[in-house]
Symmetry: C2
Subunit: 195 residues, 2 copies
């Protein structure tokens, strides 16, 4: 057997990335073999190498895509109002975006160490530029007096850690709706850094 009926790279490529993301998130990068990914797609292991030069590049592609999607989605959020409004938008955006992509978020926080130094640096830069978005809001809020933060950088990291933590416990259909979770976290963030 060789080429399969109805096979197309525009279909197989995305499916490989989707299954890889699912398996990496569930079992960890190092614990998942290329053969497992191939089997989930319904293909032989050798076929994966038509879509990625090697295993690490597959992981890097997933992480980079996620981080760029994150930055693009935040850039698309309309900005108006003062710093407090911007902060509320950021809090709600972060929770919503991350809950919608739990697997990709998990990967981005857990599998960075499986990247080589160069790839690691690239992802780190993307992450830092996302953090800078929040830091800019906190700075603006301090300038106009609407926010009061003991240390801008630490508050940035503290808020992001707190918000990202939602992904570890939230389950759809649970006690609280996403809307309600946004509400509660925004309340805590506002009080934590409000003037």
């Amino acid at each position: 057997m060789a080429r399969k009926a109805g096979s197309h790279s525009e279909i197989t490529g995305p499916r490989i990335r989707a299954e890889a993301q699912r398996l990496f998130a569930r079992h960890g990068f190092a614990a998942v073999s290329m053969r497992q990914i191939a089997a989930a797609v319904g293909v032989q292991a050798g076929a994966l190498y038509l879509y990625t030069p090697d295993k690490e590049a597959l992981l890097f592609d997933l992480l980079e895509t996620h981080m760029k999607d994150l930055l693009a989605a935040w850039a698309a959020v309309p900005r108006c109002g003062d710093a407090l409004d911007a902060l509320e938008r950021f809090v709600r955006f972060h929770i919503r975006f991350n809950l919608d992509r739990a697997e990709a978020v998990f990967l981005s926080y857990m599998e960075l160490r499986n990247l080589g130094p160069e790839n690691f640096t690239r992802i780190e830069a993307l992450r830092r530029s996302y953090e800078n978005e929040l830091e800019a809001i906190l700075k603006a809020g301090q300038a106009d007096g609407s926010l009061s933060v003991p240390d801008t950088k630490l508050a940035t990291l503290a808020i992001i850690a707190m918000l990202t933590g939602v992904n570890t416990w939230f389950r759809a259909g649970g006690r609280l709706s996403r809307e309600r979770v946004e509400e509660i976290y925004w309340d805590m963030v506002r009080k934590a850094v409000g003037a």
Copy 2:
């Protein structure tokens, strides 16, 4: 060659656990081989099986020891004063304890999925009982009116996520001392959940 000069199980055992923790934290459980651990200890791979029945049990031992140490250390903290005092003690304790054991903390948050269902449940139970300690403080604070929390369980998880996040960026000898970091985080937590 067989038994080595000066060899004792009270020395080799702890060294195996120490090297395993270091390597697991640095590269991930699945990415570290028994031979790598053995080499770090200065021993052959087969010797490890005098100290652990298998690789997963070695990981479980590290996680369980860490969680029990955490609970014991918190239990040893003298409790006096009102709920606000207790909350401050918890915040400072958590940051200090976690910074002193960065590798173990990292493992406990990242490698849970490499445990079998039974071992997983055991560690989860320990983690939940730690969360319950903070939750009890928040409840007491609401009862006596010193704290105001939109949702007790969520506030518990949010605070722990925020505090544990310190481990991802803190480096000794950096811009801020541990004492100062405690100060800053306590300020944010107090404002976030204070009445």
